[in-house]
């Protein structure tokens, strides 16, 4: 039995989280000749949000149309993400890296061009001013990126959950984790690291009651949001609660595919309603469509349906295929539910809430500047675990940018920091403790309790009273942590995930209290402050652990020249 066996690893650049952003960070650092270690809770070939596939990559391509320019893109980003996106960071991590990102995907072996025409096939949705979503078959994008990371000689630790970041004299020093199948412990020192562990899911109640039947990856549970916060890293955009619209019964993605191909939402009276809530209607921003859907259901005009009947047969076939790129099993589900291609009105429902970015053009997590650095020297962040990146296009482009930055930092660092042996021993004890309890609380009951609190109090609408009530209950739940037990290593992983979710829920509620306005409703809707207040809140709510352990918040304005 290997549980508790300790391995120590020193490396130049560590990437925590082997999803899209993390793998691109690893590629960048490895290409620069640094020693790279990727640590992933599952296996890099199929881990994270695009495990089974992905169908679209947002980009302006400057191919001649007036909407296809950098300026048009930036105007669109500022309109759907005002107050969430830091435009300077966005230009550095996405705009400047975008074409190299597309070339990299194609070079490693995934074609993004339509096999029939050899050109990009682009569709329009999500408030974009033109067809900016490149549709492609991304079923094998994840394993292809993983193969490239190995080909570049990166060391990969699969099935390792990182639970603690080590800091030495105010600088990043390393981290620890455990193998969720063998129980071996890993103590890593690195000159620089990129956090790329995604957003926080399983935090709210889900449509069929199963917390794993959700839109985003149920394995992304805020592990490094929590660990980074504990280590003094500043986070931003944590107040936002994201929702989408999904097929009834299966919280599968497909929003971009449905609306991009021209499908539209109707209510139970057969009315197209999206235009009531935004002039762009079904091609409008996601938040506006979801807000509209919530209002329609509240008014008694649900259920809601995705109407595909007016699509040509070939467009319907293309839609069906594209849905399968984004979620491999969705076409099977639709068939088994009795939908056929003709006469198709697919019943939809507003999805579960999740703690994630308020748009496709920013993130929610470790606050980064243009070079992807957090406030902790040596620690960088990429992808949905950062406050400025998220969604495939920025994860590929920005992940690479973060890897370059981390490599540059590591190159200039002469020595690794020491790590306190007592700190490591205490963490080993904390991590393994639930295995030693014969009786206690299951992770599932603990998580169910969190989900009832969050959904009742801020899922997604909230007031000062509801948020304070949530915090009171979540803080009281701290008392249950020492009862959590795990009968095996899989459950031990779930126990730590549950505790991370609860910690991040507190951060989300605290940040939401600080934002006394409404922005991108329903992603941040304050019933007590129902209007947007750009004068006081056009910018980030930044959270940080204060010296007494409390969650402190401050406001940092963002400016938009466009």
């Amino acid at each position: 039995m290997k549980t508790g066996e300790v391995h120590q690893i020193d490396t130049d650049v560590a990437v925590i989280g082997g999803g899209t952003a993390g793998l691109n960070s690893a590629m960048a650092a490895a290409e620069r000749g640094l020693k790279v270690l990727v640590v992933e809770k599952a296996m890099i070939d199929r881990s994270g949000a695009i495990a089974g596939g992905i169908d679209h990559f947002h980009a302006y391509l400057e191919e001649g149309a007036p909407w296809d320019t950098r300026e048009s893109w930036l105007r669109y980003v500022a309109s759907v993400s005002r107050g969430g996106t830091n435009m300077k960071v966005h230009e550095a991590v996405y705009c400047d890296e975008r074409m190299a990102a597309i070339e990299r995907i194609e070079r490693i072996g995934i074609s993004m061009r339509d096999p029939g025409t050899g050109k990009f096939y682009r569709t329009q949705a999500l408030g974009q001013p033109g067809p900016m979503a490149i549709n492609f078959n991304g079923k094998r994008l994840k394993p292809t990126m993983a193969r490239e990371v190995r080909r570049l000689g990166c060391q990969v630790l699969d099935r390792v959950q990182v639970t603690h970041l080590c800091v030495h004299e105010g600088e990043f020093a390393g981290f620890t984790g455990f193998n969720v199948r063998t129980g071996e412990l890993y103590q890593v020192r690195a000159k620089a690291a990129v956090i790329a562990t995604g957003n926080t899911n399983r935090m709210f109640k889900a449509q069929t009651g199963n917390p794993f039947n959700i839109w985003y990856c149920p394995a992304a549970t805020g592990d490094l949001h929590r660990a980074a916060f504990d280590a003094g890293v500043e986070l931003a955009n944590m107040e936002y609660v994201r929702l989408t619209i999904v097929p009834k019964g299966f919280s599968a993605p497909g929003f971009n595919a449905f609306f991009g191909m021209g499908a539209y939402l109707v209510n139970s009276l057969g009315e197209r309603f999206a235009e009531r809530y935004h002039p762009m209607g079904d091609r409008g921003p996601r938040s506006a469509i979801i807000w509209g859907a919530l209002q329609e259901v509240r008014a008694g005009r649900g259920p809601l349906y995705m109407d595909c009947r007016h699509l040509t047969r070939s467009d319907r076939e293309r839609l069906f295929t594209t849905l399968g790129y984004d979620k491999d099993t969705l076409p099977d589900f639709l068939i088994k539910k009795g939908y056929n291609l003709e006469g198709t009105m697919i019943e939809m429902t507003v999805s579960e809430p999740m703690q994630a970015r308020p748009s496709e053009q920013c993130g929610s997590g470790a606050k980064i500047e243009e070079r992807c650095a957090s406030n902790l020297p040596g620690l960088f962040a990429a992808g949905d675990a950062s406050d400025q990146m998220g969604c495939l296009h920025i994860c590929v482009a920005g992940g690479y940018a973060a890897g370059k930055a981390a490599a540059g930092y590591a190159e200039k660092t002469k020595r690794l920091h020491p790590v306190d042996a007592k700190e490591r021993a205490a963490e080993k004890e904390r991590v393994l403790k639930p295995l030693n309890r014969k009786h206690g609380l299951s992770y599932r009951e603990f998580e169910d309790t969190v989900r009832i609190i969050t959904t009742d109090h801020f899922g997604p609408m909230k007031t000062e009273t509801s948020l304070k009530g949530a915090l009171e209950k979540l803080n009281r739940l701290d008392g249950a942590i020492s009862d959590l037990k795990a009968d095996n290593l899989h459950e031990l992983m779930r126990v730590h995930e549950a505790v991370n979710i609860q910690h991040v829920a507190k951060i989300t509620a605290t940040a939401a209290l600080a934002r006394k306005e409404t922005r991108f409703p329903p992603y941040h809707y304050r019933t007590d402050y129902p209007e947007r207040d750009d004068k006081n809140f056009c910018g980030l709510i930044v959270v940080k652990k204060s010296s007494d352990g409390a969650i402190s918040t401050r406001f940092e304005p963002l400016t938009y020249d466009i």
């Binding site: 599952a42 296996m43 070939d45 199929r46 881990s47 994270g48 495990a51 089974g52 596939g53 079923k139 094998r140 994840k142 394993p143 699969d158 099935r159 969720v180 199948r181 449509q207 069929t208 009651g209 199963n210 794993f212 039947n213 959700i214 990856c217 149920p218 394995a219 009834k248 019964g249 299966f250 599968a252 979620k327 491999d328 099993t329 099977d332 589900f333 088994k336 539910k337 899989h490 992983m493």
Partner: protein, 66 residues
């Protein structure tokens, strides 16, 4: 239940258990077991990567019936 492994076709190569993003599939002795079916995300990676096509995906009543 979500991924159903046809044990006649399965060669216990272990790939499905290695790659599952939710740690649902494990090798139990000489067989692959869907040990945590309720934690399946229905991503389809196991079905895609099985070299002998031994995996089919089922949906429970609570997903199909609502």
């Amino acid at each position: 239940m979500p991924p159903v492994i046809d044990q006649e076709k399965c060669t216990a190569c272990g790939v499905c258990g290695e790659i599952c993003p939710l740690d649902v599939i494990h090798m139990e002795g000489k067989e692959m077991e869907v040990r945590y079916p309720d934690e399946c995300w229905h991503c389809g990676a196991c079905r895609q990567d099985c070299p002998v096509g031994a995996i089919t995906i089922e949906f429970p009543w609570i997903m199909l019936g609502v």
